[in-house]
């Protein structure tokens, strides 16, 4: 599946006249008398051109973006979903083709120090909430029932058009889900769950009614790979942020806002999507390898792809049985400025939150598997003057290297 900017429609037949002259495609309407046409004008010339543009087989794109959490400490899930929404819109899917389900309680939350904004990047660089977010299902409407109704199309007759998934057999659909999950289920707003069997059945019903041509299912939760274990419909590709038994980790906190802003997997996926432009030739392999490389330690994210009806578990067929071990991975790929991607930031957040007395803010820190951990006062909010972003050169920690403990960071 080619990862093109989503709105790229195959364009058909630019109306070149058939080579043998005679009436063009516009030989109709009053005013022109019909002329007998020699039958040899086979418009194979323009048909051949149209064929070359028709490589992918789909004619429209849809996206269903679901954030299944509410409450302030799940800020990062809303930021994830809104960032993906922004990317998807930038790449060409219009609002009329996006179904966005959010518990829209971040921007106007009384605990939000910057009201009417939702940030997805440290330093509050990017406000993903903006002025033109079109949330289709908000607040308590984000339920398992509504989600399944959207997917299977069994909505009540009074549902407006923007809340429906009006896809057909030539639609490619992106389904992105994020939130808290477990082995085989995904939690919806603290009161209900959706199981992987229900999801697989819903996809099968979509396939029976030919409501999609190809589907890309991305899930960013703990133990996300369990959600795609039961898929049995063809033409579905699934990416998950973590294997069964693993947790998905968040990327970075922001001390001014006080919560974690984004999840790691989504962060790297979005970084990849930022580089997609109209002439890009990236494909799904690139996306899979990027997310494999960048996101959390351990065996990392998994993917499930289907080629011509065969289900393949990515970890087996790609020759990456769980991925290389975290230390090798990160030490090999650690760019100088990318120290924020280090696995030890997991430990940092735990220590930091303890130091600041924030307690566990819902962020799960897995066991440290990386190199010997050391405290990294990474938040540039604290150390803005010293090294982060000061002179524009890549930020380098002021101490020597692993093993040396830096001075503890001052309280904000």
């Amino acid at each position: 599946m080619k990862l093109q900017p989503a709105g790229r429609r195959p364009v058909c037949s630019v109306h070149v006249l058939p080579p043998s002259g005679g009436e063009g495609p516009g030989g109709v309407s009053g005013g022109r008398e019909p002329r007998p046409q020699t039958g040899s004008a086979s418009p194979s010339l323009w048909q051949g051109q149209a064929e070359q543009l028709f490589r992918s087989g789909h004619t429209n794109n849809w996206a269903v973006l679901v954030c299944t959490s509410r409450f302030w400490f799940n800020y990062r899930h809303v930021a994830n979903t809104l960032s993906v929404y922004r990317s998807v819109k930038r790449l060409g899917i219009p609002d009329s083709h996006i179904v966005l389900m959010l518990a829209d309680d971040m921007a106007c939350n009384s605990r939000n120090p910057k009201p009417a904004t939702v940030f997805s990047h440290k330093n509050m660089e990017l406000n993903v909430y903006g002025d033109d977010v079109e949330v289709d299902y908000r607040s308590y409407e984000v339920t398992v029932e509504n989600f399944l109704r959207v997917l299977t199309g069994r909505v009540p007759p009074s549902t407006p058009r923007s809340k429906r998934l009006l896809s057909d057999d030539r639609s490619n659909i992106l389904i992105y889900m994020t939130g808290h999950g477990g082995n085989g289920f995904l939690k919806f707003q603290d009161s209900e769950e959706i199981t992987n069997v229900e999801l697989a059945d819903a996809f099968e019903q979509m396939w029976q009614k030919r409501r999609y041509h190809e589907m890309l299912f991305i899930i960013d939760t703990c133990q996300g790979a369990s959600m795609y274990e039961r898929f049995y419909s063809p033409n579905v590709m699934a990416l998950a942020s973590s294997q069964v038994g693993e947790d998905s980790l968040s990327h970075q906190p922001d001390l001014a806002i006080g919560v974690h802003l984004m999840d790691r997997y989504t962060f790297y996926v979005l970084e990849f999507l930022e580089e997609i432009h109209p002439a890009s030739q990236a494909n799904m392999n690139d996306l899979v390898s990027v997310s494999d490389r960048g996101a959390g330690g351990g065996s990392g994210p998994g993917w499930l792809g289907e080629a011509r009806g065969r289900l393949r578990d990515g970890s087996v067929s790609m020759g990456r049985p769980g991925g290389p071990s975290a230390p090798a991975l990160f030490l090999a790929l650690l760019p100088v400025s990318g120290w924020s991607r280090a696995p030890w930031s997991r430990v940092w957040c735990r220590q930091l939150s303890e130091d600041l007395g924030l307690g566990t803010t819902g962020h799960r820190c897995g066991p440290a598997q990386g190199p010997p951990c050391f405290f990294l006062p990474g938040a540039p909010v604290l150390v803005r003057g010293t090294w982060a972003g000061g002179s524009g050169e890549p930020a380098k920690p002021p101490w020597r290297g692993p093993g040396e403990r830096p001075p503890p960071c001052p309280m904000p």
């Binding site: 429609r9 364009v11 037949s13 004619t59 299977t152 909505v155 030919r210």
Partner: protein
């Protein structure tokens, strides 16, 4: 003495001891069998168990099962391997001199030509051309003595029953001058065709073949049917014809938009209402059977294309290359407002007047040549045409320049695109055919027939898939409730399918199409009924977790007392045996 007494006592004891167990046993037996309390207890336990098993279990089972109105599962199962016979009634009329006398005397008779349509599909299709041969009447003779073919066609009496789906083929003498010398057949715009006759011994066979060829090219070809069943056949990447047409739907919404990105330079007027009435309405009225059409129009200002055109110094004009065309639509689509329209599929036709800075703007095809109509269309979405303002108009100092759009030119292109989007491609005729241009409405009658055939077949295939998948779903997921109205819709759909099959076999295309549409409506209503959504997926461990706290406290005493009764009965029986 003491020994004696002791021995006596011992003997007595022994005797007593021997008799004792028996007495004890008897006492126990009587206690068991005669004690009213124990008996009452046993009966009570037995009653509880009986009630629980006889009354309780069935009641629980009945009250916890999901309500399912009965569905015609057998008939739905049969739908999977449907056999569709598509009959095309053809009337073949021979003019004097087109046939040897010997064969003329054999008329009138009927020739039936049936063949299988080879498709890799579970649904089997048979095409049946029913050709009724007869001699021409006097009116027809007179009409066909005209000089040109157009006059001949105009003079022909309209057939008594010009039914949808039928064809009229006239066989003219071999040396007739109506057709150009090297052409064998003429295909007219309104279900009539002319074929050259033959002389000689095998005249009828030769003519029969020609007639069949004409009939097939005018009505059902394998391509048409393959396009209709497009999504049920294995994917064929090369054929864009299968992907272009819109799916069958109950109605369509057509939107005409005028994009004016530079209102400071251009003041654009277009008489869209007049154009719609004179061009689009007649065209769509032919499609009346296909669905409801609603049309609207809008003008958008400051709507740019997403692509910057490149300047071509050679012709001092701006060009849009073919590979950048897919990116043109996206930024505009958000502003088209198609999401506010109805639930029907929307077809957009855009007319773009380029900005003064980018005038004139031409679209290039893959080879770099300019496209003559300056337009392109996107499958299942609509079309875009670029309208260049005459550069001489810029010689004035009074801006904005008034631009009156030439609606004829624009509507030609839009109607041609509409034809393609509805799935009526440019007809492919063999080399020795003369194809008449379409009539003023823009659609030949037999092209419409072809569309109706395709839609009917597509509808029947859709109904089959819907109903069979509904049956499978009900089989697999035991918790779905089927209400009475859903069941009645399913029955109606199945009946309509049978009606459609019968009508197709009889050759009545119109009624077959309507029946198939009814079947699709009913089956979609049944499948997408909101009440079908199952939320109650309970894995087995959850079922146990729910029922155990309810049933276990009740079941344990009953069970244990049953065991006790059984054990006691066993003991009694053993004792009785021993006693006996």
């Amino acid at each position: 003495m003491a020994e004696g007494i002791m021995a006596e006592r011992g003997r007595m004891d022994r005797v007593r001891g021997d008799r004792h167990p028996e007495r004890d046993r008897n006492q126990a037996l009587t206690a068991l069998t005669m004690d009213p309390e124990k008996i009452r207890g046993k009966h009570a336990a037995l009653c509880f168990a009986t009630m629980a098993v006889m009354l309780g279990l069935p009641l629980w089972w009945k009250t916890t099962e999901t309500y399912r109105a009965s569905l015609p599962y057998a008939q739905i199962g049969q739908l999977d391997s449907l056999l569709l016979r598509l009959r095309v009634p053809v009337s073949v009329v021979f003019i004097q001199g087109s046939l040897p006398i010997v064969d003329q005397q054999k008329l009138p008779f009927t020739v039936v030509n049936e063949r299988d349509v080879p498709l890799k599909c579970k649904m089997k299709l048979k095409c049946r051309f029913q050709q009724a041969y007869r001699m021409a009447g006097s009116h027809e003779e007179r009409a066909l003595k005209m000089d040109t073919i157009q006059e001949a066609e105009a003079a022909l009496p309209s057939p008594k029953e010009d039914t949808v789906g039928s064809l009229n083929i006239f066989v003219i003498p071999e040396k007739s001058s109506l057709l150009p010398q090297d052409k064998m057949s003429y295909v007219g715009p309104k279900r009539t065709a002319f074929v050259r006759g033959a002389q000689g011994r095998q005249a009828l066979t030769v003519i029969g073949q020609r007639v069949l060829q004409v009939a097939q090219s005018m009505s059902l070809t394998d391509d048409v049917l393959a396009a209709a069943l497009g999504d049920r056949l294995p994917e064929d990447k090369r054929s864009d014809d299968k992907r272009r047409p819109l799916k069958a739907s109950l109605g369509y919404e057509i939107t005409f938009s005028l994009l004016n990105p530079d209102p400071k330079s251009h003041e654009v007027h277009w008489d869209i209402e007049g154009a719609m009435e004179s061009f689009v309405q007649p065209f769509l009225s032919l499609f009346g059977a296909l669905g409801n059409f609603s049309m609207d129009s809008q003008i958008l200002y400051y709507a740019m294309l997403g692509v910057t055109p490149r300047f071509d110094a050679a012709s001092s004009s701006y060009t849009l290359a073919a590979h950048s065309l897919p990116h043109v639509i996206n930024p505009v689509e958000a502003r088209l407002g198609s999401s506010a329209a109805s639930l029907n599929p929307v077809i957009n036709f855009l007319l773009y007047v380029p900005e003064r800075a980018h005038s004139p703007l031409y679209i290039q095809d893959k080879d770099g040549a300019r496209v003559a109509t300056n337009a392109f269309h996107s499958p299942r979405w609509g079309g875009i045409m670029v309208y260049n303002v005459d550069p001489k108009a810029y010689n004035t100092t009074k801006f904005p320049v008034k631009v009156n759009v030439d609606m004829v030119q624009v509507m030609e292109v839009f109607l041609a695109q509409m034809r393609l989007l509805f799935g009526i491609p440019y007809p492919q005729m063999p080399a020795n055919f003369v194809l008449a241009g379409p009539p003023s409405e823009g659609l030949r009658s037999w092209e419409l027939d072809r569309l109706l055939w395709a839609r009917t077949v597509e509808n029947l295939a859709t109904v089959t898939t819907t109903l069979t998948s509904l049956a499978e779903l009900l089989d697999k997921i035991g918790n779905i409730v089927i209400k009475d109205d859903v069941a009645s819709e399913v029955y109606r759909a199945v009946d309509a399918v049978h009606d459609a099959i019968v009508e197709l076999a009889a050759g009545n295309l119109n009624s077959a199409f309507h029946a198939s549409r009814e079947a699709v409506t009913s089956s979609e209503k049944a499948f997408f009924d909101p009440s079908l959504l199952h939320l109650l997926y309970f894995p087995d461990d959850q079922k146990f977790a729910i029922y155990i706290p309810l049933f276990l406290p009740m079941a344990v005493p009953i069970f244990l007392s049953m065991i006790k009764i059984i054990l006691e009965n066993q003991k009694i029986r053993k004792d009785i045996e021993k006693v006996d």
